[in-house]
């Protein structure tokens, strides 16, 4: 095999950006209410230039306040979740690792439910209570699962981790149900939390997501080489001079923060973190210097398109996005898997 350049060329990044931008424009132009393309684009341009909007058209009240923030949030959530999935799969040398299979998402939503049920809030920032608890619980559950896994099986085998993850997911959701049972009047509202909804995403949500993604994403991307070493084996990583403990902790903290923020904005969305890295690995190969950036863009595009389906297929009704991601994701996954095996 020819020696390949490790990372992507700048031109490739331009291509990725172009694809993502195209998906974004497509998702902003299509929606539950069909608006003339001209109106949509004019609205966007006017909003960007700060001009007054056409009062007779419906587009200004739909595109800018409702559709754009949602698409932006969806893109960020997709990017974050699939980046987390790729990083965890590398770090734990485990093809099934992902926020949902490892119980991190359930942990995060348990945190969010506790914040809602007991009215935990950060003074001055109404949105922050659920986010902070979701992050803390995401990190706590990750530590707990890995800690217990180490005690049982220091090689951290796939089976042990997945088994513990599933057990922890059940545990966390039973505690959530328990809290919901005693939350009385708030029961109904909290129940929706567990389903997750991207409706009502605001620019504030998007800002929080993008800042988090920029910080944690940059840190994760910078650890591509270390993750390559981990993917071969933890001992190997140690032998070639990777500061194993610190790298592990850094990656886990970044993953928890990302998943925690995503869960607090959109609820748990399964399958994105698991499937997108696998699909992309077929294109990029296993090198994390390529896989991680590809996951960011691939995850964003995948979730934006999934959300587009969720918004439009049954219009005026809306599907939970998790239904679409699981349905489409599993079919695509099986298809890619068979094609690559069959060759």
């Amino acid at each position: 095999m020819k020696q390949r350049r490790e990372g992507f060329r700048p031109a490739t990044y331009v291509l990725f950006l172009a694809v993502t931008a195209a998906a974004l424009v497509l998702c902003v132009c299509l929606g539950s209410v069909s608006l003339p393309l001209k109106d949509t684009l004019r609205t966007l341009v006017r909003a960007a230039l700060g001009l007054a909007q056409d009062a007779r058209s419906l587009a200004p009240s739909i595109v800018v306040p409702v559709r754009l923030p949602r698409v932006l949030c969806v893109a960020a959530v997709g990017a974050a979740l699939s980046l987390c999935g790729a990083a965890m799969q590398g770090l734990l040398k485990n093809p099934l690792a992902d926020g949902s299979t490892m119980g991190v998402s359930s942990g995060a939503s348990l945190g969010a439910i506790i914040a809602l049920a007991f009215g935990v809030s950060v003074p001055g920032l109404p949105f922050a209570g659920t986010t902070v608890l979701a992050i803390l619980f995401a990190f706590g559950s990750l530590l707990l699962i890995l800690g217990v896994a180490y005690r049982l099986d220091s090689s951290l085998s796939t089976n042990t981790i997945i088994l513990l993850g599933v057990i922890f997911s059940m545990f966390a959701s039973s505690v959530s149900s328990f809290i919901i049972t005693f939350a009385g009047e708030r029961v109904k509202t909290i129940m929706f939390w567990t389903l997750g909804s991207l409706q009502g995403s605001s620019y504030q949500n998007a800002a929080v997501l993008y800042v988090t993604l920029a910080v944690c994403g940059a840190i994760l991307l910078a650890h591509g080489r270390e993750l390559n070493a981990f993917a071969v084996g933890e001992d190997n990583a140690r032998n070639i001079g990777v500061y194993v403990r610190r790298v592990k902790l850094t990656v886990l903290i970044c993953v928890s923060v990302l998943i925690g923020v995503c869960v607090s904005v959109s609820g748990t969305i399964g399958f994105v973190g698991l499937v997108t890295p696998h699909m992309l690995r077929r294109l990029t190969g296993p090198n994390h210097r390529r896989l991680l950036p590809a996951s960011v863009f691939g995850g964003a595009v995948f979730l934006m398109l999934a959300d587009l389906l969720a918004r439009t297929v049954l219009s005026p009704r809306e599907l939970p996005i998790g239904v679409v991601t699981s349905f489409v994701g599993s079919i695509v996954f099986v298809y890619i898997f068979f094609r690559s095996r069959g060759r």
Binding site: G31, S32, V33, L58, S61, I62, V64, P65, V66, R67, G119, P126, E185, R186, K188, T189, F192, W193, L195, S197, Q199, G200, S202, R311, S315, P316, R317, E318, L319, P320
Partner: protein, 344 residues
């Protein structure tokens, strides 16, 4: 070593909990079997499950002190149910049945309620039983009701059979429309020997609806549209389409349901609400006394200012399930909606 001990402890715990469950089940029917046998004359005509359990006497039908003539009702699945006399101990799983019972003045007969039964306030002291998939048959049996009221969607066939084997008559009231409410009020009225009151309730409801319908039909302005918000934006918008009580009331009141093209309760897109520009919004979100009220929250949604309901602040917040339950209170809900839409 220590693992073994833990395993043993867990096993022991498991045994104890299983036994505890059985104990509770055995105790209650046994305790009450003796007085029941004394008072029960031998002429119990329909007791099919008499001899099934071996040692423990099954919870028998305890007829009222002065046994009235037997009561036969046909429930809303078409099953015929016969009781020795009017029911005096009833468990109601659905919130609507609880409301009907209380409207009939039989709140005292309620010995157990489903978890969503919350109206009127005085029934909040009645023990709660699990309903739906988690229905706790043991718990219901231990309350010794003669009748269990439920809606079809709440229970499975197996659960119904288990209850009937325990001698509890299961009556299904599953009103899907206003006509259904009249039927269910009639059935429960007959069960409780309150047929007269049942008739009054039904007539009262009918006259309220007719009155409102006539007044609304006389409205001279354009037909107004209303959007029913079942779940707020934060959790994903849900609305009530055709086949719901909201929709039926809207029709009576000469209002156009903004989502009349959607069947049942459904999650809908925010964009659609903005496009359909309803004249009024009815939200059923609860207010917990902190943050913006449901009405303020709707008024503050970006992009919604083009909706006439938001521009004119025509938003009604119903917090007590006035329009969602197949119960007599639906007439009050309709009146509230009428007053809100057309003003006094």
């Amino acid at each position: 070593m220590s693992r073994k001990i833990i395993a043993l402890l867990l096993a022991a715990l498991l045994c104890v909990s299983v036994l505890a469950g059985c104990g509770a089940k055995q105790e209650t029917p046994a305790e009450d079997a003796s007085p029941a046998e004394e008072t029960t004359p031998a002429e119990t005509p329909e007791e099919p499950a008499e001899e099934t359990p071996a040692e423990e006497t099954p919870a028998e039908e305890t007829p009222a002190e002065e046994p009235a003539a037997s009561v036969t009702v046909t429930d809303m699945t078409g099953r015929e149910i016969t009781l020795d006399g009017p029911a005096t101990r009833v468990v109601a799983l659905s919130a609507a049945d609880c409301e009907v019972l209380c409207a009939l003045g039989c709140g005292d007969a309620l010995v157990g309620r489903g978890e969503y039964c919350n109206w009127p306030e005085e029934i909040l002291d009645v023990p709660v039983v699990q309903s739906g998939a988690d229905t706790n048959i043991e718990q219901i049996i231990s309350l010794q009701p003669q009748v269990l009221l439920m809606s079809t969607m709440a229970q499975t066939e197996e659960q119904v059979k288990a209850l009937e084997d325990a001698g509890i008559k299961v009556v299904v009231s599953d009103a899907m429309d206003i006509e259904g409410i009249y039927t269910s009020v009639g059935i429960i009225g007959k069960l409780m020997d309150k047929e007269e009151q049942a008739g009054e309730i039904v007539n009262g409801m009918k006259s309220t609806f007719e009155d409102l319908k006539a007044k609304a039909a006389a409205w001279e302005g354009d037909q107004m549209s209303v959007y029913f918000e079942i779940s707020p934006l934060e959790w994903g918008l849900w609305t009530a389409g055709t086949g719901t009580f909201y929709d039926e009331i809207a029709n009576i009141l000469n209002l156009k349901n903004a989502f009349g093209d959607v069947a049942g309760y459904a999650e809908i897109s925010e964009e659609q609400v903005i496009e359909r520009k309803p004249d009024a919004i009815v939200t059923i979100s609860m207010y917990y006394g902190e943050g913006p009220t449901p009405v303020e929250e709707i008024l503050s949604r970006p992009g919604w200012d083009v909706i006439p309901a938001v521009a004119n602040e025509k938003i009604l917040n119903l917090q007590n399930d006035e329009l969602s339950r197949p119960a007599p209170r639906l007439a009050e809900g309709a009146q509230m909606l009428y007053d809100f839409m057309y003003g006094e």
